[in-house]
């Protein structure tokens, strides 16, 4: 197990209103599979019919091997509170949607030396010299920056799906 380096503070998207939760779930799942990540649903907690509505907590952890030394990790967290199902008419078609308070947290980090090749005392020193001094800016710019803005792009796509006003950024 290598060293995990967080790339961002978790991006929090909070929405209170009517939205298609199944659609958001499937949209994000499709994005993960399309990008070639391995998908793991770590937790799915559902509390139906609590006071005010049902509550659900979902945690996803996804990873993708970039090179022999670098692995990208994504961590997604969904939390819906006071969720009730409502029927709305969208473009003349009746659809079942969810009225709830939704929180989505997106975070990403890089794992260096995920195969744990630099195990011994001296190897570890060489590994640290290689990754933290010699190749530092290469992996930060090539893999770190790429992942960082890809996650922001996903956040903007989710905001567009939820029909939020601030979905179009400049990056």
């Amino acid at each position: 197990m290598g060293e995990k380096i967080p790339l961002n503070e978790p991006i929090r998207i909070l929405y209170n209103g009517i939205f298609d939760f199944d659609g958001v779930y499937r949209f994000m799942y499709d994005w993960i599979i399309r990008e070639g990540y391995d998908f793991h649903e770590k937790r799915y907690k559902d509390k139906p019919d609590t006071h005010g509505g049902s509550e659900a907590e979902i945690e996803w952890e996804c990873d993708r091997k970039e090179t022999e030394y670098i692995k990208q990790h994504l961590f997604f967290y969904f939390h819906t509170r006071d969720a009730v199902e409502v029927e709305v008419v969208v473009n003349g078609v009746k659809k079942t949607m969810t009225k709830a308070r939704l929180e989505i947290r997106l975070s990403c980090f890089l794992e260096l030396d995920w195969q744990n090749r630099f195990k011994g005392k001296i190897s570890k020193l060489f590994g640290e010299l290689l990754m933290k001094k010699i190749l530092k800016w290469e992996w930060i710019l090539k893999y770190g920056d790429d992942l960082y803005y890809r996650v922001y792009g996903l956040g903007e796509q989710v905001k567009t799906f939820l029909n939020m006003s601030t979905d179009k950024g400049a990056y």
Binding site: E9, I11, R12, N16, Y148, M164, T166, K168
Partner: protein
């Protein structure tokens, strides 16, 4: 431990009127992108009520000047009582709302935490920051202040507010 130097706090802009929220948000994003800041959106909260909406956004874009110094501008934006409005003769989507923007600016040094592992390193860092690199610190502070002033002017100009200096 990161050393945070507050350049200014709580610079507030308030506005009530018509604005295109999507374009306004993109304008601010564009501003930071042009000046080489990295995007850092911590919170984006949109609440849809029966007759109106409310949006709360918190962003802290940062710019790494070197491996020791970075500039940060924190923006807390509140768009309250947001209602979609149709103006005659215009196809642009407009909203009527109350906007409150609070701006803070910080100069962060030693953001990688290299100079705080031992007390002697911490001492060296403080002495160097205060006496040897005084000019660089001052220059970075002035750069940050200039960016924040430009952002304030850009926002006021976009909202067509009176700009008196």
């Amino acid at each position: 431990m990161v050393e945070n130097r507050t350049v200014f706090r709580d610079k507030t802009i308030r506005y009530t009127g018509l604005v295109n929220i999507a374009a306004f948000y993109k304008m601010i994003d564009d501003f930071f992108r042009q000046r080489g800041y990295d995007k850092n959106e911590l919170k984006n909260f949109e609440e849809v009520r029966e007759n109106e909406r409310q949006i709360i956004i918190e962003i802290i874009p940062y710019k790494k000047i070197s491996d020791y110094t970075q500039l940060k501008i924190k923006l807390n934006m509140l768009f309250a009582h947001l209602k979609d409005v149709q103006v005659e003769g215009s196809t642009e989507p407009l909203q009527s709302c109350n906007i409150t923007i609070v701006m803070d600016a910080f100069l962060e040094t030693d953001y990688e935490g290299r100079w705080d592992s031992k007390p002697f390193y911490y001492f060296l860092r403080t002495v160097f920051d205060k006496y040897v690199f005084k000019g660089y610190v001052y220059r970075n502070e002035q750069m940050l202040r200039q960016h924040a002033d430009e952002l304030e002017i850009e926002i006021k100009s976009y909202l067509n507010m009176a700009r008196y200096r």
